[in-house]
């Protein structure tokens, strides 16, 4: 079954070998102008199916890689699209702040809200402006829609803002036409009512229609006059039959605020800010 060495040493085999070597040397000596046509002819005939197979394999491999890349890009696009409404809202708020800032006649400090992931975040939150920027305790914090709260404490670079939802928040308020005065306070400290305000101490004889805009009255000298607090949505409870309370939908929800303005100076004596906010009264 095996082939002996004597059979290997045939003259024909040696001649074939020498011939192949000679052809190889001749191929190495072929001018450059001949090499490419010869190579191309071989590639387009004998090697064509094999190169097609290699191309298909490469295509398959790159297709899998491209599929992974496209999937990653699609996921990134979906993620980006998920944040798009929030970005638009933030953009609108920033535009509103810029517009409000140009109209305000009082000194103010712009600040970014440093939200924390916690259930009490809407009651108090940090802002990125502090004593160094001229912020002082009890400064009023507003957004283009209205009152956000007041500064509770001040650090060097940050401040703590107590929002209108804080249980201890109180503000003297009035109907925008000045017909009714009262005190605005949070509706409650738990349950869904925590996100509503109450206009308290309204004399029983006074009726406040729904949709009436409630603004700060400026009494007490803490919160300037004319800052929107919210809109009346209906009567609340009657107390001892001589005063009424009204439910007020707040002008701004603390959780939706990303940038605020801290009013660091008092407005001109007697000046009301309500006209400034009314122009931006609609939520973005």
């Amino acid at each position: 079954m095996t082939i002996g060495a004597d059979r290997y040493g045939s003259r024909a085999g040696t001649l074939v070998f020498l011939g192949c070597v000679a052809l190889s040397v001749a191929a190495m000596s072929v001018p450059d102008t001949w090499r490419e046509p010869i190579s191309r002819a071989i590639r387009q005939t004998i090697l064509a199916p094999l190169l097609a197979l290699q191309e298909e394999t490469e295509t398959l491999r790159s297709s899998r890689a491209r599929l992974a890349a496209v999937t990653a890009e699609r996921d990134s696009a979906i993620l980006a699209a998920a944040f798009l409404p929030e970005l638009r809202a933030e953009n609108a708020r920033l535009r509103g702040l810029l517009g409000l800032g140009s109209r305000l006649s009082v000194a103010y400090v712009p600040a970014e809200v440093l939200h924390e992931a916690g259930p009490t975040d809407p009651l108090t939150f940090l802002v990125s402006a502090g004593r160094k920027q001229g912020v002082r305790p009890l400064d009023t914090v507003v957004s283009p829609e209205g009152l956000v709260g007041v500064v509770a404490s001040v650090d060097e670079q940050t401040s703590v803002v107590a929002t209108w939802a804080h249980p201890e928040f109180r503000a003297s308020a009035m109907a925008v036409d000045g017909s009714v005065y009262g005190i605005v306070a949070p509706r409650g400290s738990e349950g869904p009512g925590i996100w509503l305000l109450e206009l308290q101490g309204v004399p029983y004889r006074n009726q406040v229609p729904d949709s009436t805009l409630i603004v700060s009255s400026g009494l007490g000298g803490v919160i300037p006059r004319g800052i929107p607090l919210g809109t009346v949505i209906g009567p609340g409870a009657e107390v001892e039959h001589w005063e009424r309370t009204y439910l007020v939908r707040p002008a701004v929800h603390p959780a939706s605020v990303t940038h605020v303005m801290i009013l660091t100076g008092a407005p001109r004596s007697g000046a009301s800010l309500k006209d400034l906010f009314q122009a931006e009264g609609k939520s973005p």
């Binding site: 082939i3 085999g13 040696t14 192949c20 190579s39 004998i46």
Partner: protein
């Protein structure tokens, strides 16, 4: 010997050629990936007489030259030499031993690379040393390993003596 064994041998060779153009690019660095085409040639040559082995080497080398026209002819020369002398080596050692066959596959691959590099004259100095002392031995090793696996698993299929077939 059954006639079908001869066909099986050619099926193995064709399979190796197809693997070269389909799987090889997925096996990592091109410099160390096993050379299935050369493996097919060597499996042919260690079963065939030197003359046909030299001719087969020349054809395989010419096909490879067509893929790398810059060093046209060098692969034809290298494969001719490897085909002829591997066939002789098999006759001299005359062993149906897996280790001997593995050594022939290893040496054949390394000598092929040596001749190609020297004949083309494209590598000099440090790159030449790296090619001959690092990359070529690694490729020879992977090629020989694949060849040993093929011989071990399909030994009966590829044990056809071409001179007797």
């Amino acid at each position: 010997m059954r006639k079908s064994d001869r066909y099986r041998f050619w099926i193995v060779l064709i399979g190796l050629v197809l693997l070269h153009f389909s799987v090889r690019t997925r096996l990592g660095d091109d410099r160390i990936a096993p050379d299935f085409l050369l493996l097919a040639l060597l499996m042919y040559t260690i079963r065939a007489a030197p003359g046909p082995s030299a001719a087969a080497g020349f054809v395989v080398g010419l096909l490879r030259d067509a893929l790398t026209p810059a060093s046209f002819g060098s692969a034809a020369l290298a494969h001719t030499l490897v085909g002829y002398f591997s066939s002789w080596a098999k006759a001299v050692f005359f062993a149906e031993n897996l280790f001997v066959n593995g050594c022939i596959l290893f040496g054949g691959t390394w000598v092929r690379n040596l001749v190609v590099v020297l004949a083309s004259g494209e590598l000099k100095g440090s790159p030449l040393a790296w090619e001959l002392l690092v990359w070529s031995p690694l490729q020879s090793l992977t090629t020989a390993a694949v060849g040993v696996v093929v011989l071990w698993t399909l030994g009966r299929w590829v044990s056809v003596r071409m001179g007797d077939a």
